[in-house]
Symmetry: C2
Subunit: 79 residues, 2 copies
């Protein structure tokens, strides 16, 4: 079974670069990668928070958050 | 030709977790992943700095740095 990986972003320049370089770099044989734009899909904010995501871009693998550089804080996306 | 990816770490707990989850997750068909322990290989510090690495763990893909969470600053590793 593949591991679930979720890449959270918000369309910011830092996010887009991380998306194109990193979110697409995961081994497709082992990872099922979903890309979530938290600016457009605000209903996914609680899910991201629950996984420990504090800022975007972030990659959640196996339920664990990996913050990649810094684009925007989750708090800013709630406004 | 494969893209070069270098994962820089320093043996810290945050680093080791990122290494086991993320450095090993890159698509081996497209990425040639090298793992560098900057605590043990201090001669690689200038190379990491030149790529823009400011803290570990960090992944450099195509010469661009992606800082993953925060383990230790590069400055601390120079001591």
């Amino acid at each position: 079974m593949k591991t679930k990986a979720i890449f959270y972003h918000a369309g910011c320049p830092v996010c887009l670069e991380a998306e194109s370089e990193l979110a697409t770099a995961l081994n497709p044989d082992h990872y099922d990668t979903e890309i979530v734009h938290l600016g457009n899909e605000k209903d996914k904010l609680p899910e991201a928070e629950q996984s420990g995501v504090q800022s975007v871009p972030a990659l959640v693998i196996n339920g664990k958050p990996y913050h990649i550089n810094f684009g925007a804080s989750l708090a800013d996306l709630k406004g």
